[in-house]
């Protein structure tokens, strides 16, 4: 019985998993395929991508032409349910009134969490990214090497399906041969950027995204992923056959009801449920972890959001994958005599060193792209190209005034029109009538945008704690955010803005964004890029970290944190693929411990 209600909960499970997003989905998949009995608690409502996805809806079939509003931050058709930077009934607070010291906390309260609408950019951390402190003396090293995680990156890529190429660039790992799906063809603005990027030494190459440009090989992959487990192979093969290749239309942020892209609800949860080993409770908001007399976790106390009653599930081990902030909140809210400062917090480090990605963007107008003959540029519902960080050598020589790298995400403007004027007023001045329509045709598609996605170094000023006064609608104390950018991030944002300006000019274009003087003028607020990680530092020393390299808390040995919380650094590479790889790795470890009777 897969989707259950509180009264159908089994007396005890092997593992209780909090959260159904990337980390929770991967964990449920790994554990149930290995035969462990799991219960998953999801705070949001159940969600059915087959029937709830807005695939081909046009702007004129949507309120306000589908544009963003405070209710739907990424547009009406975006697959975010009860979420955004605000969530009904679940507030959070800021320690400072200054905008640059505030954190925007994005959450989605739905089955599958943010994986229903994420960008699907799936980059591997490179070997430098696991040892940043050793390279420049800042932040923390991971107690892991690239080669520890490499097999799991490969497994996740085979399972979810990732397109891209192997370019062999510095700290930008290749995948083994045959793992990546074919890269989609470059679009006009991407190819034009690639050509002119060369002059500036910027390598513009195919990006990696979790979209099937080809159906997955259901005959071969399952045997590679689950050797010696025929049942798992069969379940996975069936699941893979239920996923179609992309049909090159419809924006991926809306989700994908042909299951061509990765979302937990279409890729991780169906095969996990098919094992018969998973019960899922939706509208179940975990408040604290239950601890036995032996000091081990033995279940989860949650609020049934429908009845508002407190309920419990019992399990031999607990995995929290509620997303960085929320995982911190659950740990801090689990206070008792044994754990006066919150669970797994003997070091006082829970909530510390939270990071986001450094974001800054510049847009420009490129005359060469004006009046292009109409052609289809929808492609794979997201970006096809990007530029990985390319200045490692200069940085090593001390030529840059910031310590870490950024990659460039890029976009053209030949997407689905509607909701805004394709011909900006400063170009067309007083045009109206047929003249206006000609101008609209001319300028449509001639704009480009470049975004910095850069590494933030963890600092003492960026953390979350419990607010002593404010509680949410369920009576649970909320998080209070503290935020601080260091000179590294601010200088990086400035560098990016100059680089993008130079790139646009190299293309014969002009910059549209405002000129900036300081990093603060251009850097996006903390949390705005929605890559928050950290808050339960992973390390080799129990006195200086919260988790070990198995995402296992030092204080409570059957408690695992399988989202971004344990990240000691936040490489410029978008975090989700790494969250999944580590969750799989931890899942294997839990299975091994269970077999030894150690749970």
């Amino acid at each position: 019985m897969p989707f259950i209600t509180s009264d159908q909960v089994q007396p005890e499970y092997d593992v209780a998993i909090v959260g159904s997003g990337a980390g929770g989905g991967q964990m449920a998949y790994t554990l149930t395929q290995a035969g462990l009995k799991c219960v998953m608690l999801e705070s949001g409502r159940s969600y059915n991508p087959d029937t709830e996805t807005a695939m081909f809806q046009r702007p004129d079939q949507s309120p306000l032409m589908g544009i963003s509003t405070p209710d739907k931050f990424f547009g009406f058709s975006d697959a975010t349910v009860n979420g955004g930077w605000t969530v009904p009934g679940e507030p959070y607070t800021q320690a400072s009134d200054k905008p640059e010291e505030q954190f925007w906390w994005w959450r989605a309260r739905m089955m599958g969490g943010r994986t229903n609408h994420w960008g699907r950019i799936s980059l591997r951390n490179g070997q430098y990214d696991f040892k940043p402190y050793s390279r420049d003396g800042l932040g923390f090293d991971w107690p892991l090497n690239y080669k520890d995680v490499e097999p799991y990156y490969t497994k996740v890529e085979m399972l979810i399906g990732v397109y891209g190429t192997n370019e062999g660039l510095e700290n930008t790992p290749n995948s083994p041969k045959g793992v990546l799906l074919p890269a989609p063809k470059g679009r006009a603005s991407e190819l034009y950027t690639q050509k002119h990027g060369k002059k500036l030494g910027i390598p513009v190459i195919p990006i990696h995204r979790a979209v099937l440009t080809k159906a997955l090989d259901a005959d071969k992959i399952p045997a590679k992923l689950h050797p010696k487990n025929p049942r798992a192979q069969k379940i996975l093969a069936d699941a893979m056959r239920g996923r179609a290749a992309c049909f090159w239309a419809t924006p991926c942020v809306r989700g994908c009801n042909i299951r061509a892209n990765y979302q937990s609800t279409t890729v991780h949860l169906p095969p996990a449920l098919a094992t018969g080993n998973l019960d899922i409770l939706s509208d179940a908001h975990a408040r604290e972890i239950l601890i036995g007399k032996d000091g081990k976790a033995n279940g989860v106390l949650y609020i049934n959001k429908k009845t508002r009653k407190e309920e419990r599930v019992k399990a031999k081990a607990v995995v929290i994958a509620a997303s960085s902030g929320e995982t911190v909140r659950i740990l801090l809210n689990t206070k008792n005599a044994q754990h006066p400062n919150g669970l797994a917090n003997s070091t006082g480090l829970v909530g510390k060193y939270i990071m986001d990605t450094v974001g800054a963007s510049v847009s420009g107008h490129v005359p060469a792209l004006e009046n292009l003959p109409p052609h289809n540029e929808d492609g794979a519902g997201g970006s096809h190209f990007y530029a990985p960080w390319w200045l490692y050598k200069e940085q090593l020589k001390g030529k840059l005034n910031f310590a870490r790298g950024y990659h460039i995400e890029m976009g053209g403007s030949r997407g689905m029109p509607g909701g805004r004027n394709p011909a900006p007023s400063d170009f067309i001045k007083g045009a109206y009538g047929t003249k206006f329509k000609e101008e609209a045709r001319r300028y449509y598609g001639s704009f480009v945008g470049y975004a910095c996605r850069g590494e933030m170094i963890p600092n003492e000023g960026s953390f979350a704690e419990l607010d002593p006064k404010v509680k949410d609608d369920y009576g649970i104390p909320v998080l209070k955010w503290h935020w601080k950018w260091s000179e590294h991030e601010l200088n990086m944002a400035l560098h990016a803005s100059k680089t993008f300006g130079a790139l646009i000019e190299a293309m014969g274009g002009t910059v549209r964004s405002k000129q900036v003087k300081t990093g603060h003028d251009i850097i996006e607020p903390g949390g705005k890029i929605i890559h928050e990680v950290g808050g339960a530092l992973m390390g080799a020393d129990p006195k200086k970290s919260v988790c070990n390299s198995w995402n296992q808390t030092w204080d409570v040995k059957n408690l695992f944190l399988c989202d971004g919380t344990p990240f000691p650094s936040n490489a410029d590479k978008n975090p989700t693929l790494t969250i999944m790889a580590l969750a799989w790795r931890t899942g294997d470890y839990i299975v091994e411990q269970a077999r030894k009777g150690n749970l």
Partner: protein, 225 residues
């Protein structure tokens, strides 16, 4: 550009920050239903309406008026249709704005409870009133009943703020805002897509990238084989 403003260049960072500030204010208080902008809506002199909330059924097709009541008066609607057709007339690129429901979409827009639209309403409704009065003053007729030459005579005076005479500056700001909203609506229709040269939103067997003609124009080659 997966989660950047690129997808919605209409929204400046400042606007988003403003939303956030108002959201944050509500958050400090604690209970947060859907964002509530009733106060600013009331200031702009319109009935408070509810937005669609954070969990609308997005799998449906919607028409203007499905989520909040439309508020244009008959005169406002007629003036809107007439001005939208001056800006987006029937021609070789496509049909006139009014034949693809642009006035309905604009009514939905100015009647919406969200801050961007509430601000636009404060420019558009007085602008429509000005246009009606100006038409009466100059030609003793409603704007919709003017002939093309008469309509253009007024539009030429107000179509660009920088060139407009002092007495027309405000109306010119209205014209630009109106043109933005009308174009946003027009180009969100299948007819508008054709008019602007958008080809897409249809399932394909393969994605072939830009055609040779486009590659040649740009002097690039397809680098993904």
């Amino acid at each position: 550009m997966e989660n950047s403003e690129q997808q919605n260049p209409r929204l400046s960072r400042r606007t988003v920050l403003k939303w956030f500030a108002s959201a944050a204010a509500v958050m400090q208080v604690g209970a947060l239903e859907s964002l509530n902008y009733v106060a600013s809506a009331a200031e702009a002199g319109r009935p408070a309406a509810k937005g669609y909330g954070q969990d609308p059924d997005v799998s449906q097709y919607y028409n203007p008026g499905d989520f909040w009541p439309l508020t244009f008066t008959k005169d406002e609607k007629e003036t809107t249709a007439a001005l939208a057709d001056v800006i987006l007339p029937a021609d070789q690129y496509g049909p006139a704005a009014s034949t693809v429901r642009v006035p309905d979409f604009m009514d939905e827009w100015v009647s919406a409870p969200y801050p961007v639209q509430v601000a636009d309403r404060a420019i558009i409704i007085p602008g429509l009133k000005w246009l009606a009065e100006e038409s009466q003053k100059r030609f003793k007729k409603s704007f919709a009943s003017l002939n093309d030459t008469q309509k253009r005579a007024i539009c030429d005076d107000i179509c660009w703020p920088a060139d407009a005479k002092a007495e027309f500056k405000k109306a010119a700001a209205f014209f630009v805002k109106f043109r933005d909203v009308a174009a946003g609506a027009y180009y969100g229709t299948p007819e508008g897509w054709k008019a602007v040269g958008y080809v897409g939103n249809e399932a394909l067997m393969s994605f072939d990238g830009p055609p040779k003609e486009v590659l040649d124009r740009l002097g690039v080659t397809q680098t993904v084989k």
